[in-house]
């Protein structure tokens, strides 16, 4: 029996449950179904660092938020319209984000005395009236799932219970008119060969959830969100870490250099190592090192041998790599170090995003040690940012930092697939012959780029030695000469500063061209800042937005852009790191909007900060 269909332009759903409840899988499958339907999407997984925190406890709650719409969207959304809470702890930690009138679907079976106590509920919120302002659907997900699976042989009752996330997914799929076919295929592929009965149980639970929606009187209507009118082309859903991995593969192809990845497992960067380990047929060498230092050291060694050397990590690993990055800067060899920033300091909050490492990667080395820095702006943009980092590294024979963060890494969005044949090649130009009267001078620089020649072992006649000691201009021989050190220090700085002429100018989004306030952002805050600006403009106010991809050097027109506006707001997920640079470098009296919650900035809070400045 068909129920009435209500049209919506956008929905934000949040799945929340125990870290063992399979919320990440549920969320990512709902995302796949939604992407295939043609909605624009943006996702935010939010999970604890513990693999299995004590069941039912508040710290063990894992969440996955999905924003989908019939128009282009920029963020995973500030607050959910629909919250699916699998137990009291998930309800307790998430209900504060659900606006009044929001839809709440809970697993009624999980609201027993023990779980209520663990979550710190003195009374059952499903019975004490505290949820009256929400549209509550208390569904006995566990018992319905177990009931649906009772005829499947070889599945334990515990395994049957664990399929309740698929029941919830089936119900949500029905509610929003999503086909479960892709999930059925996924389950068959994941479990079919090894444990076909588990595949069958999950599929049955999924279908039972779907059927429950159709028949229950609890839900009177279903919803439809029409496909978004995105630019024509072929799309896929992609996370930042996946896009970054593909970007590195692309740079390897574009340069013809074999990719060598040295890495040590660390959240949230490990997925890049795991992803690239699967592409050996691309000639990729992945080296899981004994520590962070060896990981980047091996990448430098590979670069000396003529590979595209890359090392991936997060802040706690980046600090350990500093010494080797300094060496690579001195050796003037191409190297890309990816910092998937997480909330700190020290071990901090491993699974949560922050922009706290900007000053670390810019200055965290001994002495004058300039390193270019490139930052990705969205999950899919990690692809382009990775190629750009590799391009600069190869062309200028320098280590380059590529900044992403835990939100970009795990978050996803539709990606308009690029035409691979249109990607610009990365010329390498290995040295093959002596460069000065029959002699090879390893530090004789290219006049334009100031890059030194890259002569790899195996090239006869170009045998040479490099090292971390200061070297004489041109010859590269060890030199402690005072004037030579001054010259070399300036040459290394000049080389990196000169890259400004080889990167795009800073673009400004200022629709009317007469805003007084400029919002300057960098990296992963692109979505919430752009969304915040939209909101502000919808109120009739004017605001301009510029977003930095290159943090060192800055685009060559940065000063001009900054001085064009009366006031400059710099929102960051740190306590004002770009802000410090802007004030120091450009003598601009910019102000910051700074939050370090371990969550992406919200469009609403950015909008409020902008409005305060515009009105102030």
């Amino acid at each position: 029996m068909a129920k009435p269909v209500e049209q919506l332009s956008q929905v934000i759903v949040r799945f929340a449950g125990d870290s063992g409840d399979g919320m990440q899988l549920t969320g990512s499958q709902f995302t796949s179904e939604t992407a295939l339907l043609g909605n624009d999407i943006s996702t935010l997984p939010d999970f604890p660092a513990e693999i299995r925190a004590p069941a039912g406890s508040l710290p063990g709650v894992s969440g996955f938020q999905l924003h989908f719409a019939d128009h282009d969207i920029l963020t995973p959304g500030d607050a959910p319209n629909v919250l699916v809470a699998m137990n009291p702890a998930a309800l307790k930690t998430n209900i504060k984000d659900l606006p009044k009138g929001g839809t709440l679907i809970v697993n009624a079976d999980a609201f027993n005395d023990r779980n209520l106590q663990k979550a710190g509920y003195p009374t059952n919120p499903l019975e004490d009236g505290s949820l009256d302002e929400f549209q509550v659907h208390a569904v006995p997900l566990t018992s319905l799932t177990v009931g649906a699976l009772k005829d499947i042989e070889g599945v334990t009752s515990r395994e049957a219970e664990r399929s309740k996330n698929m029941f919830a997914l089936g119900l949500m799929s029905w509610l929003y008119g999503r086909s479960v076919d892709a999930t059925v295929d996924f389950l068959n592929a994941k479990f079919g060969a090894r444990r076909p009965e588990i595949a069958a149980a999950n599929i049955k639970a999924l279908q039972a959830g779907y059927a429950f929606g159709e028949t229950t009187e609890s839900f009177a209507v279903t919803y439809e969100v029409k496909p978004a009118k995105l630019a024509p082309g072929t799309y896929r859903n992609i996370t930042g870490n996946q896009a970054l991995s593909y970007g590195l593969l692309a740079a390897s192809k574009l340069s013809g250099l074999p990719l060598f990845l040295g890495a040590y497992p660390i959240t949230p960067a490990s997925a890049i190592l795991e992803e690239l380990a699967g592409y050996k047929h691309f000639g990729v060498r992945t080296f899981q090192a004994e520590d962070e230092i060896a990981a980047v050291g091996a990448a430098v060694g590979a670069a000396f041998g003529g590979a595209l050397g890359v090392s991936t990590s997060a802040g706690p690993g980046i600090v350990l790599k500093a010494e080797t990055v300094g060496l690579a800067m001195m050796l003037e060899l191409p190297l890309v170090i990816c910092d998937i920033q997480r909330a700190g300091p020290s071990t901090g909050m491993p699974t949560k995003p922050e922009q706290g490492d900007l000053l670390l990667v810019l200055f965290g080395r001994n002495s004058e040690s300039p390193v270019p820095v490139v930052a990705a702006m969205s999950p899919s943009d990690c692809f382009n940012a990775a190629i750009e980092a590799c391009r600069i590294a190869v062309k200028y024979r320098t280590p380059v930092y590529l900044l992403s963060d835990a939100y970009l890494a795990n978050g996803s969005e539709p990606w308009l697939l690029p035409d691979v044949s249109q990607l610009a090649e990365i010329p390498v130009g290995f040295a093959t012959a002596p460069n000065s009267d029959g002699e090879f001078l390893p530090y004789l620089r290219d006049e334009q780029t100031l890059a030194r020649p890259w002569a790899v072992p195996g090239t006869p006649g170009l045998e040479h030695r490099v090292g971390g000691l200061e070297k004489e201009d041109r010859t590269g021989n060890i030199s402690y000469d005072p004037d030579n050190h001054d010259l070399m220090t300036r040459l290394r700085a000049q080389k990196v500063a000169g890259i400004a002429g080889d990167i795009p100018k800073l673009e400004v989004d200022d629709p009317d061209g007469d805003a007084d306030v400029l919002v300057l952002g960098w990296g992963g805050t692109y979505g919430p800042i752009a969304a915040g600006c939209r909101r502000v403009r919808n109120t009739g106010r004017k605001v301009a937005h510029a977003h930095l991809r290159h943090l060192n050097p800055f685009p060559r027109n940065t000063a001009e852009v900054l001085h064009r506006y009366d006031r400059v707001l710099v929102p960051e997920m740190n306590l004002g790191q770009l802000l410090k640079l802007v004030r120091a470098e450009f003598l601009v009296d910019a102000v910051g909007y700074n939050r370090v919650t371990g969550l992406p900035l919200r469009a609403a809070e950015v909008a409020a900060a902008i409005e305060a400045l515009v009105d102030g």
Partner: protein
Amino acid sequence: MSQGNGNGKLTMKDFKTDQEVRWCPGCGDYAILAAMQSFMPELGIERERTVFVSGIGCAARFPYYMNTYGMHSIHGRAPAIATGLATSRQDLSVWVVTGDGDALSIGGNHLIHALRRNVNLKILLFNNRIYGLTKGQYSPTSELGKVTKSTPMGSLDWPFNPLSLAIGAEATFVARAIDTDKAGTTAVLRAAAEHRGSAFVEIFQNCPIFNDDAFDYVRDDKEGVNRIMLRSGDPIVWGADDEKALRQRSDGSIEICAAGDPGVLVHDAAAEGPSLAFALSRVTQETHGGTPVGVFRDVVRPVYDDLMAGQIAEATETRGVGDLAALLHSGETWTID
């Protein structure tokens, strides 16, 4: 730029650079450098396919004096850097030159992991049992109670036995040489070069400034009363008249006996298990009155870089050369017109 002696063969001269050697007069490093430069032509590997990687310390200057490719890197990290190089370039002959502080203190972690992986590296540890470049602090191989500038009342830490450490770290080739013993050093270097995988060579090296005469008992041992030469297949005997010998106790440890006694050990560097090599590594001047020299262990085990190249070949064979466009379009895609 000299390219051999005219008949295509390289000579010692080809391996010298124009850089002034800056070690202290009398340093054992000179002898090791000379041995290396004269031995390299024998190897038959082109200079351009030879790479020396070092860390920090006196020994770490070594690459500057070898006319090959070279990198003087950072303290303790040479095995890690060389691992990346050797793993991505199987065609190269990669040598690591390190010291007791570089390899066993700040770089201990990299050393043991390079050895267990069996990366195709030749690691030469110049052991002078002291920190030289920082002017005379005790090192991780200094004897307990060593009085130095940083230990005026004597050092408190028990030293590493480099060979025991290497064997414990699953090394497939372990040897010892003495700086002034050119023939012995050359023989050990040749065996190391011929070993595919990680080769670990400890070279006793005299520091005349901060720890002079530390190895006199074997360096100046003209009569051969202290050197115990290890030769696979031969009984292990030594002394002025080869009157002393080694044999194993029931617990595996080694004791001295007379050469004519029953049960004299016959050396077998290729023994699969590490027990014999380990027991021999525990034979020291202090404990046994003799010091074994030569190849302790030389066994065949899969080599990391070969295994990695094998996986790449296998993946390429079964999946074809990676196609970027196909990869990007893999998974679930949808099209908007």
